[in-house]
């Protein structure tokens, strides 16, 4: 396997609020190879989005990265200055968001917004910029792109706006794209189109993706590997197909069981009992223990990450692994 384009080690991002220290991301590690798509899955408040913003160095005050390292194309990002980070944002790593209505500026034309993103990293003539913008919009599937450059965001549908945002994010062919639930706000048929397109684009441009989602079904159709987050930690990671077929962490198993498709028609939907713990006061030991049916006394201490082949889990009582469970 080649060197990873993105390597995250023990990343911790905390928010220093008046109510206390909020540990949004708490020791997250993963690697991403060129062109690889990783799904980052978890409930709301599990730290997925903050992880994404941390990768770009865009954590808003009162939050900051307190620990860990992020290496992008061999360069350590956490020690870079703001100017050096900015030079990498959009060119080596970029991000798209959930709500395409909120991301584009309603008062600038699509062409102007693409031009701003080009100008952020390159000096090109207006003509060349226009040609580039047209090509890009065509690439993400916007018909009669040249004419649409003069249009404003409100003249586009939600799906089209998201395509424009994707075009802007991929403008400089970044090594890594962080996609924060980009299809959640779209209707299902558009969602499927965009997912397929993103997968093709990733393949063509070699852009690796961190695909953040709370929706296992969406991610599993796209990502070659998954990382499941719970309360600021990755609790399980591994290749998508095997992780879904044979989850080791009880939380992952709960997530899979609660997929609507898994329930019998007419029967009540499965759900994981309880709710996510407050990130301000995490319980001692495994944060999932209070909701876990397998929890034991041992779970009051924090489990370490167990690595076995290309799979990882953070649990004392992994499912399907009972034979190997230590005494």
């Amino acid at each position: 396997m080649s060197d990873p384009v993105l390597s995250v080690r023990d990343l911790s991002t905390h928010f220093f609020t008046r109510a206390g220290v909020l540990k949004a991301v708490n020791g997250v590690s993963f690697d991403l190879a060129r062109g690889e798509i990783m799904g980052l899955v978890g409930e709301s408040g599990s730290g997925k989005t903050v992880t994404g913003f941390s990768l770009l160095g865009l954590v808003d005050a009162p939050g900051r990265i307190v620990e860990g390292s992020i290496t992008l194309n061999g360069v350590e990002l956490t020690t870079l200055s703001e100017a050096e980070l900015r030079a990498r944002r959009g060119r080596e790593i970029s991000m798209i968001f959930q709500d395409p209505i909120a991301t584009l500026n309603p008062m600038l034309t699509i062409g102007q917004q693409i031009k701003l993103a080009i100008d952020a990293h390159e000096r090109v003539s207006p003509r060349a910029a226009q040609a580039r913008a047209t090509e890009l919009l065509t690439q993400v599937g916007i018909p009669s792109a040249a004419a649409r450059l003069r249009a404003y965001p409100h003249e586009f549908s939600g799906g089209m706006r998201q395509r424009v945002a994707i075009a802007i994010a991929l403008l400089h062919r970044p090594s890594v794209l962080v996609a924060d639930e980009p299809t959640t706000a779209l209707d299902v048929s558009i969602q499927a189109q965009i997912l397929a397109q993103m997968r093709d684009l990733a393949r063509e441009t070699g852009t690796a993706m961190v695909w953040i989602s709370h929706d296992l079904a969406v991610v599993s159709s796209l990502a070659s590997k998954l990382a499941v987050m719970y309360a600021g930690r990755i609790v399980e990671a591994g290749p998508t197909a095997r992780l879904l077929r044979d989850p080791h962490h009880p939380y992952t198993a709960g997530l899979i069981a609660s997929l609507p498709a898994m329930a019998k028609p007419g029967a009540p939907l499965n759900q994981i009992a309880g709710s996510t713990p407050s990130l301000l006061s995490l319980p001692q030991g495994c944060p999932f223990a209070p909701r876990c049916t397998h929890a034991s006394r041992q779970c009051t201490t924090d489990p370490d990450m167990t690595q076995q082949g290309d799979r990882q889990w953070r649990c004392f009582h992994p499912l399907g692994q009972t034979a190997k469970e230590p005494a």
């Binding site: 913003f53 959009g90 060119r91 991301t103 309603p106 952020a120 404003y152 802007i168």
Partner: protein
């Protein structure tokens, strides 16, 4: 776009027509003006002649129609007191108010928006906290008192700036202006500061609130993620996004200050229209009052019309009549 302009224009005409009725009716209700036009010892004959000459014996609607007929021909009547056409009287005073108000409102807006953006961008710095403290002061201290203190401090104690009047003026297009001469400019400074203080405070608040809100939106996060510099984000994204309320308030303030800079003009004995209207009310110079109110209404309608056009120019959603 053309439909939009026509629609707004018709609205403006309607407002003006309604305003003329209200003003005319209101002034009519004040009472008979004959007594201030003729001396108290005048004979009954002179009195009746005057009433007939002024057309006060006709029914109200006829008086109104005559007034409107003259108005449309640009004739707003003659001042009872100065006995010159009202338009000439107001026209002679307007430049003084115009230059004072434009200078103060524009500088208040430019300075206020810049300070407000800074205060919204770095809300926790001590500079921002100082800016906000000053803006509270600008809101809460009464303008006449500030005017007096300015005179006391800069004109009387320090002797740096003149206390009142317009100073040397220059004729441009047959109108006297103060701002092109250094002496005239030095006369403008204190009244302009006096007028600007409240507007400055308001602009700071508006710009700060807008900036704080916009900086937290996904638009800004997305721009940052695309690698745009903070300067570009402020200039190209933020400034446009916070402009709508600022332009609205700018227009309203411009109109109301032009019309009612009375207090400042009185304190600094600035010979503008505000002082004129106060004097006219004191002596019940009716033609001046009516003409002034009509002109003020016209001013507001025009400013609002222009602002609507500006909105349409800068905000595509207004231009296209979109629902969002």
């Amino acid at each position: 776009m053309l439909g939009f302009i026509i629609q707004r224009f018709l609205q403006a005409v309607l407002v003006m027509a309604a305003m003329s009725v209200i003003v005319f009716g209101g002034i009519y209700a004040i009472g008979n003006p004959v007594d201030i036009v003729i001396p108290p010892e005048a004979t009954q004959e002179i009195r009746e002649q005057t009433i007939q000459r002024l057309g006060l014996d006709r029914p109200l609607y006829e008086q109104y129609l005559i007034f409107m007929g003259n108005l449309l021909q640009g004739d707003l009547g003659r001042s009872f007191v100065y006995n010159i056409p009202v338009l000439e009287l107001i026209g002679g005073r307007l430049p003084a108010t115009l230059e004072l108000v434009l200078i103060s409102v524009i500088s208040a807006t430019v300075l206020g928006v810049s300070l407000g953006i800074y205060a919204g961008y770095r809300p926790d710095s001590w500079v921002s906290k100082t800016i906000m403290a000053v803006s509270v002061l600008g809101f809460s201290v009464p303008s006449f008192w500030v005017g007096l203190i300015l005179i006391l401090f800069f004109a009387v104690n320090l002797g740096w700036l003149p206390a009142g009047g317009r100073g040397n003026t220059v004729e441009i297009w047959g109108v006297a202006w103060s701002f092109p001469t250094l002496d005239g400019l030095s006369h403008i400074v204190l009244p302009a500061i006096n007028l600007a203080l409240f507007k400055l405070a308001m602009m700071i608040r508006l710009a700060r609130a807008g900036t704080r809100e916009i900086m937290l939106t996904d638009t800004v996060k997305f721009a940052r993620a695309a690698g745009l510099s903070e300067g570009t984000i402020l200039r190209r994204h933020l400034l446009k996004l916070i402009s709508i309320p600022i332009i609205t308030v700018f227009g309203l303030e411009l109109g109301s200050t032009l019309a009612f800079a009375v207090v400042t003009e009185t304190i600094f004995s600035w010979p503008g229209v505000g002082k004129l209207i106060i004097d006219s009310i004191a002596v019940l110079d009716r033609p001046v009052m009516v003409a002034y109110l009509i002109l003020v209404a016209f001013l507001f309608v025009t400013i609002n019309f222009v602002i609507d056009l500006v909105f349409a120019l800068i905000d595509p959603r207004v231009r296209h009549g979109a629902a969002t």
